[in-house]
């Protein structure tokens, strides 16, 4: 069993990518379990995910990397025990710190074979985010296995190059991929990675 975290700042396209990956992996015969976290009282993302025929467990009213860390670990254990998934996909809130979520998964003792953190960055707003929320965004990206520069359909080649340059300095150990979760461009290698990671 592998655990894949799809992290990234508010509005980076996590739910869109999760629906795409979850649907592809389900079609390929994988048992996919989804945990989605919303910091507000009412969750929207769980309803969106379920409307695409996927099944999710929604954790609301806080962040799974801090106030709801116990809920995350309990949910991971329950899903592993009851559903026996091939893949658990976690969508934290847009204000979660993925490195802490990854530690919590490891400490949940669910005997995962591999934990993969994919951190999305919105290519269209990346330069604005680096300017306005640099410290927080750089903490989100730090330590990600893969940084997925999303919404490539909205930006020019020059903007993409600038974003790539900043990301390479920010998280040199991360693999950087360029995708459009909306139209599916660049997503196939991520599906393949998750299929082959078991």
């Amino acid at each position: 069993m592998i655990v894949c975290q799809l992290a990234g700042f508010l509005g980076s396209g996590k739910t869109t990518l999760l629906v795409r990956l979850g649907s592809e992996l389900s079609k390929a015969g994988r048992r996919v379990a989804i945990i989605v976290n919303e910091v507000g009282e009412v969750g929207v993302d769980g309803a969106v995910i379920d409307s695409f025929g996927l099944k999710s467990v929604e954790i609301t009213e806080g962040c799974i990397c801090c106030s709801l860390s116990g809920s995350l670990q309990n949910t991971l254990r329950a899903i592993t025990r009851e559903f026996k998934p091939d893949i658990i996909m976690i969508e934290p809130t847009g204000i979660a710190l993925p490195s802490i979520v990854a530690k919590l998964v490891r400490m949940a003792m669910i005997e995962e074979d591999r934990m993969i953190t994919i951190c999305l960055i919105d290519a269209y707003r990346a330069l604005k985010l680096f300017r306005e929320a640099n410290l927080f965004v750089s903490r989100q990206i730090a330590g990600a296995d893969i940084v997925a520069v999303n919404k490539m359909d909205l930006v020019s080649e020059d903007v993409a190059k600038n974003v790539a340059k900043i990301l390479e300095e920010m998280s040199p150990q991360s693999e950087i991929v360029y995708i459009s979760a909306k139209n599916g461009d660049g997503v196939a290698p991520l599906v393949k990675l998750l299929e082959e990671a078991e």
Binding site: L10, I49, S71, I95
Partner: protein
Amino acid sequence: MSDEDSKELADAGTFGLKAEFHAHPAIASKDLIALMEKLLVDVGTKVTEERGMMLGHIKAFVSTGRGTLKINLIDMDIGPETLDRLSSPTAEKGEIKFMAALVGLDDHEVEEIMEDSLGILEDRLELEIEEHEHDHEHHH
């Protein structure tokens, strides 16, 4: 696990609400979409006026029993991004989930802005806003 509160670190405020709606007479789906987009843009405009910019995510999900509608507002220059999966030309009733997480505002400010903007819907829809139950896990 961590003494850090990520919401504080991100300096973000959040609010979400769920409401049942009824439309008398039935509302055309295209008008419902326009109304929901107007709601999100109104929130985004107020946030921009208050903070000088909008950094965050405003989103809504509408289910009518005959399809769904998902609307995101992330950037005012791009505007609302709508995924229309409504299969009926009109809607008489349904459920709206409406949520925002916004940098530079506290929870109370986000709540005030969102509730103020709901007036846009109330011109055309009868809303029953659901009292929130404090459960942390919701199984779908």
